[in-house]
Structures are given as structure tokens and as C-alpha cells.
Symmetry: C2
């Protein structure tokens, strides 16, 4: 039987660049992670494909999943649900596949409660000015909205203490390399390594 | 002020090849660790230099260090003391230097009690036959002695659960690379990263 895969959770404050870093990791040739496709109740946009961009479901289906404990994590934004179905993630992990989630900080804490042996990596800005620039740089928000988002982001950065590792997103390639180093090293953590090693050594440690 | 350095402890059962792996790490050009020189009461051998191979001291001096809490770890083999002076290690760590210890498993557990934020890496054999071959391969012991050493080694392997990481010493270069990956990743562990990051962000997290 295959060893259970590792659940890798990449999170961090809004505007830190999680999506860009995740895409850079998945664009690499030797990428072996499975990306968990989110489920949402929002309408499919032009060019999107069901089961590729999202699993598109109705509000009733989503709320049914929530009430039957079927969501690993979820949140509601502007009247729409977004979340990660637990079934798919567990199936892949049981098959020995590593699964990679890129989610918001609220969701990450829900995951930690359900899959405690996951690897939790926090992507964080080099400094707060830089974060403000990124948030402002989107050019879509007024000053009051930006202030509100900054306050939220600072609260989110403070959640770093609930994670295993923190990586500064200063330069993308650098952040990607650090995340890959962390994932590599984590395989040799005693809590992950010992069960298989004991099996391999055989009777001695029964 | 410099950030406190990281204490890296490499240990593992007798015969696993700790010394060889440690030498390979220190032979690398970009090695930046300080190696902590042990203190011993055994006689200096020809070619050895005091303060390079060991700090050579008298039995009285060593026992004085023990009784005043001056040893980070120590053990007695065949009437001679061997150990690591605490003062030197702390001085280097406080100066922001990473310090590397290669010690026996009994000593490593003493270190864990005194410097709990150390990084503890366990070097382990690919399998028990291999370990027996290495122990036998020294060619100096009779069969009863080898059995005794194997029993001891198995007990030592079981101590792996008290370590942070475990690395199989299958192929030396491979083990060295894994250890370096672990040390790199460990710098981004939240518990090591957060204090400095908070300082850097300034007032917000006071």
C-alpha cells in the first residue's frame, strides 16, 4: 500500500501574491503535486471549464456538503461560497499523492483542525509598505477601502504563528525555491519518516 | 545585535557513519558552521593539537565543569570523560553563529534539555544488516561484542522519535545534501523566523 501523501497548504494575507507563487510552482516541469480544485456557487465565467477552474455547483448542493461535513474548508464572499471538498483531498492523499492547496488564512485554519499532519506554509510580504503598494497597485479601490484591506492584512499576518513555516515573498523565484526546499525537508521529519522506517526495519520495533 | 545562531545536533547510533558525514559537510567550501570542539580527559595522542582536536583537560578540571553546570553534555567512556563545554557554544550562538555538534545519542538528549530550540537530526542506517556489516567491518571485535553493539544500536535507533528529522545514511553525498536541505528549511520555521520578522515590521505587532 502506498504511504499517505502530504497535504501542503500555502496561505497568507490578501495581496501577498499566493496565486502567482502557486502558479510558478505548478508551471515547473518536475511538479508532482496535485492541485485541489475548489468548489464554488458563483456563476461560470466565459472561458471557464467545470472541473478545471472550479467545480461549479448550486447553492443547495454546496450547503448540503457543508451540513454533511463534506467541506475541508469554505468561506462565503459576496453571497457566493468557495471551498475545498474533503472527499477529493482524502482520496488523493490515501493514494499516496501529495496535494497542494492555495487558500485564504481563514480556510487554512479550518484545514489545520481537520488534517493536523498537513504542512502549513505562510507567504508573507517583505514589509507593510510593499503590501500597501501591491494592494493599491490593483488600482480598483479607493483610499478607505485600501485602509480597510491593510488592517485586515495586518490581522492576517499575525496569524503566521499558527503555521509551520513562513516565507517572505520578496522575489518570486526565491520564494518558490524556499517553498520547495521546505517541502523536501519536511519528508524527513521524524513524525512522517518513522512509521515507514519502522515497517522497513521489520520485527525489531514491534 | 545579531540574531542568535542555530544549534545543529547530528547524532545517531554507533557505527552509522556520523563522523564521515560531518567531515563531508565541513569539507565543503561554503560551509558556515562552527564545529564545537569537545573537551576530554584522555591523553593527547601524537599529532593531536590541544584546542584543535580536543580541549585536553585534567580529570579534576572536567569534574569541576560538570559540578558547576559547565557542560552542555558529557559521557564517560573507559575511564575518560568526553563532552561539550556549554560556555563556548552559547558564546558562538549569541554572536549569531550556527554551531554544529556531532555527538552520541546519550549526549544529544542532554543537549535537548538545555537548548530546546536546537535542531536535532538523527542519522540512521538503511537497514540493520547494513549496520551489522559496518560494525563487523571494523574487524576489531569478536561475535559476542558485535551482538552487544547491535543490541545497543537498536536501542539507539529507537531514540529517533526524540529528534526533529531523520536521514538515512545510504550514500554519503545524498545524506549530506539532505542535511543541508533540512538546515536551510529550518530557518523559515515560524518559531525561528517570527521574532525577527516582528522586529522588522516594527510597531504594528508590539
Amino acid at each position: 500500500m502506498a504511504n499517505r501523501g502530504m497535504l501542503i497548504v500555502l496561505s497568507g494575507p490578501s495581496g501577498v501574491g499566493k496565486g502567482t507563487v502557486r502558479k510558478a510552482i505548478f508551471d515547473q516541469d518536475d511538479n508532482k503535486f496535485l492541485y485541489s480544485i475548489s468548489m464554488t456557487t458563483r456563476k461560470m465565467r466565459e472561458g471557464e471549464v467545470d472541473g478545471v477552474d472550479y467545480h461549479f455547483v448550486s447553492k443547495e448542493e454546496f450547503e448540503n456538503e457543508i451540513s454533511t461535513g463534506g467541506m475541508l474548508e469554505y468561506a462565503k464572499y459576496v453571497d457566493n461560497y468557495y471551498g475545498t471538498p474533503l472527499k477529493y483531498v482524502n482520496k488523493m492523499l490515501d493514494a499516496g499523492q501529495d496535494v497542494f492547496l492555495e487558500i485564504e488564512v481563514q480556510g487554512a485554519m479550518q484545514v489545520r483542525e481537520k488534517i493536523s499532519d498537513g504542512l502549513f506554509i505562510f507567504l508573507t510580504p517583505p514589509d507593510l509598505m510593499e503590501l500597501r503598494q501591491r494592494i493599491t497597485g490593483r488600482g480598483t479601490d479607493d483610499s478607505a477601502t485600501i485602509d480597510k484591506r491593510m488592517t485586515k492584512a495586518i490581522g492576517e499576518i499575525d496569524m503566521m504563528q499558527n503555521y509551520d513555516y513562513a516565507v517572505v515573498n520578496d522575489e518570486i523565484n526565491d520564494a518558490v525555491e524556499k517553498i520547495q526546499t521546505i517541502i523536501k525537508a519536511e519528508r524527513w521529519r521524524v513524525k512522517r519518516f518513522l512509521p515507514d522506517y519502522r515497517k522497513q526495519l521489520g520485527d525489531v520495533f514491534k
